[in-house]
Symmetry: D2
Subunit: 376 residues, 4 copies
C-alpha cells in the first residue's frame, strides 16, 4: 500500500520563485536538516479511488518522522519546549515535554485519528531500539503531532500501521527534505490549496559564530494566502469563506536549532511560529489545532544513566540575544508553510474530493505584477 509520493519534481519552492522571506540567509538545503544531525523520514500511504468506505479507503495519508539526532533519544534526550496557540487537536506527548523540558523519542507527524497507532508504534520502536534492559526501564513519552486529513483520506479507517512508522524512522536522512504531498502531508490543505509538508531554515550569527534555525511543518489551516505580504489567495480568487461556520485546519510546527537554548527559551522560540503562520494568511479558525514544538540539538540533557546528579551545562544563550533567533524562526515557519503549498500537487481523494494545487504559472504572474508595481 505504500506508494511513492506523486511526482512534484516540476513544482518549485517559493525561493525558486524569487520569494525571500525576511532578512536572513537560508542554510544549504533550506531545510530543518540544515541543523546538524537532524534526520527526516517520510512514508506516504496512497491507495484506491472513489467513494469512501471506512476501513477500505481511499487512503491518502502518511507519516513523517523527525529525528533530533541519530543516537538513543531515550538515554540522550534533547532539550525542548512547546507552545499551543490553539489546542484543537489530539497531539500527544506535550505535557511531559513541558514538564521535563525534553524530547525522548523521534517526533512523528500523522493523521489526527492515527495518533494512537503512531504512539503505539513509537513505543514498540523505542522498546526495541533504545532499551537494553527492559526490567530496568519503565516508561517514556512518545511525541506525536497531527492534522486532520479526512477531506481526502479515509481517516476513520486508520490505515497507518507500525511498519510504516518504523520505515519512516529507519529511512530518515539528512539533506534535502521531500515537501508537499508526502508523508503526513498527503491528505491536507491550506488556505484553499493542496498543501502538506514544508521546511525551511535560517542562518544567524551570534557572538561571531554561525548557528542554524530550521522548521518543518505540516500545514492544514484555513486562511487566505499571502506570499511575503502579496495577497495571492485573493488575486487567485481563493478566499477563506466566513459565512456559516467555517472550520478546518491545523498546523504542526517543529522548529530546531543548534543554539544552546533551554526549555524556557525553546518554549518562547516555538511560539514565534505563530507569527509566521499569521503572515501566510491564517485566520486562526476555531478548529485549527496549532501546535509549535522547538528543540535544541546542543543544549542536551546528559545520559540519564550517568549516575551523576549534576548536569554540566557548558553554555546557554542569554535571553537578551534571542530577538534575531525569534525573527529567524518566524521567517523559517512562514517559508516552510509556503513551500508546503507550492510543492504540493493536486490530489483527488475519497468521494472524489479534490484539493487543487496552487497554479504556479498564475502565481508567478501575480507575484511579478506586484513586484513590477513595487519597482515602478
Amino acid at each position: 500500500m505504500i506508494s511513492r509520493p506523486p511526482d512534484n519534481s516540476r513544482r518549485l519552492r517559493v525561493r525558486e520563485l524569487g520569494v525571500k522571506i525576511g532578512p536572513f540567509a537560508t542554510g544549504p538545503d533550506n531545510a530543518i536538516t540544515d541543523v546538524k544531525g537532524i534526520k527526516v523520514g517520510q512514508v506516504t500511504l496512497w491507495k484506491g479511488e472513489g467513494k469512501l468506505v471506512p476501513g477500505k479507503g481511499p487512503v491518502r495519508t502518511g507519516v513523517t518522522a523527525v529525528l533530533p539526532h541519530s543516537g538513543n533519544l531515550l538515554s540522550a534526550p534533547v532539550e525542548a519546549g512547546c507552545h499551543v496557540f490553539n489546542g484543537a487537536g489530539t497531539t500527544a506527548g506535550l505535557s511531559l515535554l513541558e514538564e521535563y523540558g525534553r524530547i525522548e523519542t523521534p517526533v512523528l507527524l500523522t493523521s489526527t485519528l492515527a495518533v494512537g497507532k503512531a504512539f503505539d508504534a513509537l513505543v514498540k520502536y523505542v522498546v526495541k531500539k533504545y532499551i537494553e534492559k527492559p526490567e530496568e526501564n519503565s516508561w517514556f513519552n512518545p511525541l506525536v503531532g497531527e492534522t486532520d486529513d479526512s477531506f481526502l483520506n479515509d481517516s476513520h479507517g486508520l490505515h497507518l500501521r507500525a511498519e510504516h512508522v518504523f520505515q519512516a524512522i529507519d529511512t530518515a536522512e539528512g539533506g534535502p527534505v521531500a515537501e508537499g504531498v508526502v508523508g503526513a502531508g498527503v491528505g491536507i490543505r491550506t488556505c484553499g490549496f493542496k498543501a502538506g509538508i514544508g521546511t525551511s531554515s535560517r542562518i544567524i550569527a551570534v557572538g561571531g559564530r554561525r548557528f542554524t534555525v530550521g522548521s518543518l511543518i505540516q500545514s492544514n489551516f484555513l486562511g487566505t494566502l499571502r506570499v511575503d505580504g502579496i495577497p495571492l489567495g485573493k488575486e487567485l480568487g481563493v478566499v477563506a469563506q466566513m459565512d456559516d461556520c467555517p472550520q478546518g485546519g491545523s498546523l504542526m510546527v517543529i522548529t530546531a536549532t543548534d543554539l544552546p537554548l533551554n526549555s524556557r527559551q525553546l518554549k518562547r522560540l516555538a511560539a514565534r511560529g505563530v507569527l509566521g503562520m499569521a503572515r501566510t494568511g491564517a485566520v486562526g479558525s476555531h478548529s485549527s489545532g496549532d501546535y509549535f514544538i522547538a528543540f535544541s540539538t546542543t543544549y542536551r540533557q546528559e545520559n540519564l544513566a550517568s549516575g551523576e546528579p549534576f548536569r554540566k551545562s557548558e553554555i546557554l544563550l542569554r535571553d537578551e540575544y534571542l530577538t534575531p533567533v525569534f525573527a529567524a524562526a518566524a521567517d523559517a515557519v512562514e517559508e516552510a508553510i509556503l513551500n508546503s503549498i507550492f510543492k504540493a500537487v493536486t490530489v483527488v481523494g475519497r468521494d472524489a474530493n479534490r484539493a487543487e494545487a496552487i497554479d504556479i504559472d498564475k502565481a508567478i504572474e501575480v507575484l511579478n505584477k506586484y513586484r513590477q508595481g513595487s519597482q515602478s
Copy 2:
C-alpha cells in the same frame, strides 16, 4: 486472557474502618456513579507468572472506562476542565479538553505505554457507535489517562487490545464500582502498598438543593501513607525513601458533578484534587504524572448538529458558592485514594516483583490506637 480480578470481597473500604474524610455525607454508593448517569466499566488483564519476557508477560494490567453519560458523547459532549499538577505522563486528549472545554468520548484509564492502543480503540469505538455519516464527520478527541504499571506488568509488551476497551465501555454500569486490583488499577502501587482504582462521593447542598461530587482515581504515587491525618505508613514501617533518586508514581483523577459548572470552574474544581492527594501523604515526586480532570453532567453543550449558533445555558453556579464544592471534591479524592489502597489485594507480578496489600488488621490497630488517644 481476561481474568476476573483477584477476590477482594473480604477487604474493606476506609469508611468501613470508621474513617470519615471531611464534613460532608457520601452518596448512596460512595462512588463517582452517585452522580446520576455516570457509568464505569473495567476489564482486568492477568496472565502468567515469573520472569519478564517482553511481549509474553507476565500481564498485570487493564483498562477502566468512565462514561459521563450513556448517550452519544460526540454529539452531546460534557463540559469539562483539567489541571496538571505534574505533567510527567503520557495522558492524551488534554489540549482539546482545555481549548473546547469539553469531553466527547468515554474517558479511559490504562497503562502508560498502552495509551496509544487505548486511543486507537477509542477511535474505533466512536467511529462505530457515534458516527452515522462518516463522510460528514472528521475528527474528535479521545481522552486517555494512565499510570505506569511496569513494576508488576510487562508494560513493554502492550497487552491491551481494542476488544478489551470495547468490553470495558460496553459493560459499564452505574451503582457500586469495583476498587483496588481491577481494570487500570491491576499493576500499580501507592505509598508503598498495592493500590489501584478507588472512588468516593460527597453530597452538598447549594441553594436548598442537593448535588453530588464524585471522584474515581487511579493511584500509583510515592509517599508515606496518612489516613485522615494518622501516619499509618510510618506506624507500619512503610515509608517513602528519600535516598538516591526515588521515582515512581502518578495519579489520575476524574471528578464529576451534577452541579452546573463551566469549563473554567471545572478546571478549578479539578485542581482541588491535589489537596486530597497531598493529605494522603504524596511527596510530589519528580516522575509522578498527576492529572486531574473534572466534568459536569448538567452544564452540557448542546447537540452540535442543532444548527443553532447560540447555546442556551440555563443556569450556572456562581463562583462565590464554589468553596464547599471545592472542599467536597478534595475530600472525595482523598477517600478515593484510600479506598484504592484498602481494597487492593497483594499482587505478585513480573520477575516475582511483589506489591503487598496493606494489612487491614494492623491498620485497624493503629487507627484505634490513635482514636483512643484522641478520646482519652
Copy 3:
C-alpha cells in the same frame, strides 16, 4: 502638567488611505466604542524638553482608560479572558482575570513603571465610586496594562498621579477615540515609527443578527512595518535591525464584543490579536511584552450581591461559530495598530530622543505604487 495631545488633525487613519484590512465592515466610528456601552478616556502628560533629569522630566507619558460599561464594575463585572504571547512586562491583574474570568474595574493602560501608581489610583477610585459599605467589601482586582515609554519619557520619574487616572475615567466617553500621541500612547514607538494608541472595529453577522468586535491597542513593538501586506517599512528604509541584541517593544491589546462569549471563549478571542500583530510586521522580540485581553459586554456575571447561587446565562455562542469572530478580531487589531502609527505625530522627548512620525505622503506613494502594480 496635563497638556492637550499634539495636534494630529491632519493625519489620517489607514482607512482614509484606502487600506481595508480583511473582509468585514467596520462599525460607525471604527473604534472599540462601537461596542455599545464602552467608553474611553485619555489623559496626556507632556512637560519639558531636553536632558533627562529623573523626577523632573521631560515628561512624555499618559494614561488611557477603557470602561466596559458605565455602571459599577465591581458589582457587575464583565466576563473576560486573556492571552499572554510574551510575558515581558509588568501588566497587573491578569491572574484573577483568568481565575474568575472577569474584569471588575476600568482597564488602564500607562507607562510600564507607572503600573503601581495606576493600580493605586484605581483602588482609590473603586473604593470611592463603587463601594458603599467599606466594612462589607474586602478587595478587588485592579487591571493595568503598560508599555515602556522610556525612550522619550522620564519613566523613572513616575509622573503619573492619581488625579490623572481619575480624570481619564471621569472624562471617558463613547464615540470616536483619539489615536496616536495621546494618553498611554504618548511616549511609544512601533516598527521604527512614532506610534501610540489605535483602535478599530468590525461588524459580523451571527445567526442573522449583527454583532461588533472592537479593539483598542497601545503599540510599542519592534518590527518592519507592513500595511495590508505591503512592505512599507522596507520601502521607506525603516527596518528592524537584527544586529547585536535589539530589544524594545510591547503591545497591549483590549478586544471587546457584544457577542455572548464566556471566559474560555474570550481567552481564545484575545489570542487572535497575535495574528493581527504579526501581520503588521512584529518580529516577536525578546523584551516585547505582548498582552491580549478580551471581554464581552453581554455575557455578564450578575450582581454579586444578589444572594442567588445560580447565575442565569441566557445564551452563549457555540464555539463552532467562532471562526469569523476570531478573524474579525485579528483584523481589528491589525488595523488598530496601523492607526496607532498613522495618527501619531513626531515627538521629541528626553535627551532630544526623537520618534519620527511616518511620512504619510511617502506612505501613500508606496501604497499607490503597489496598488497600481496589482491592478496593472
Copy 4:
C-alpha cells in the same frame, strides 16, 4: 505610625512543641535565611482602635521584604519560577518572572490593595539603588505578593508608604526571622486563628553535598487546622464553616534554595508548596489566592552588562534527583504555615474585629493526647 510588632516572645514555634514535619533536618535558624545570602526585613504598621474610618484606620498591616541576595538584583537577577494554584489575588510581577525565569528586585509581601503602593516604592528603590545610568536603563519587573487583611485592617485606606518599603529592604538581615504578627502578617488569619508570617527550612544531601531549601510564607487561608496530621482545629472547635458561601484567604509562598535549579525546575519546586498547604488543612477556597514563587541563589543569570551572549551555567541538578528536594520544600512550607499560626498573638482590629491566637496550652494538650495514643 510604625510600631514594633506585638510581643510574641512567649509564643513557641511548632518545633518547640515537639512537632517535626517530615524526615529532613532543619537549617540552623529553621528559616528561609538558612539559604546563604538571603535577607528578610519587615515593617509593621499599627495604629488606632475601634470603628473603621477608611483613610484613618485602624491600621493593622505591614510589609515583608525578601532579598535573594544583597547585591544589585537588577544586574544580577536570580533564576526563578512560580506556580499559581488559585489566581484569586492581585500579586504583581509573575508574567515576567515566568517568561524570563528570573527575579530582578527584592520580593515584597503586603496587603492586597497596597500592591500598587508597594510596586511604586519598589520602582523608586530600584531606580535609586540599582541604576547608575538612567538613560541606559529602561524598565524592570517589581515583584509584589499579597494577602487580604481587611478583616482587621483599614485596607481601603492604603496606609503603606514608600518609606515603609525602603525601611523593610534596608533593615533586612540574615539569621532568625520574626514570625506571626509582623510585617505583611499583621492583619491576617488562617484556619480560624490569627496567623501571619512564618518560615522554615530543610537540609538535604545531594551527591554527597549539603543544600538548603527554605520557605517564607504569608498565611491567610480558610481551612480546619491540622498539625502533622492531628486535627487540632476540630479538637479546639475551630472548624471551617461550609454553609452559605464561605470566602477568605490566600497564601503567598516564597521558597528558596542554594541548589542549582533552572526556572523550569523552580516552577516545579514552587508547586510543591501546595502539598504543604493542603496538609495544614486548607480547603482550597474560591477566593484564596494561592501563589508560590521559588528561586535559586546559585543558578544565577550573569550580569546583563557583560556583553557576552553566552551564559556559562556550570552545573544544574538533574530532574531525576528532584524528588527529595520537592519533599523538603513541601515540608518547609507546611512547617512555615504552622509557625505563622503558633507565633501569632491575638489581634483586635477595625470595628473591634478580633483574630484569636491559637491557645498554645490547649494545643499542647491535644498534641500530647494524640501522641500518647500513638505510643500506647
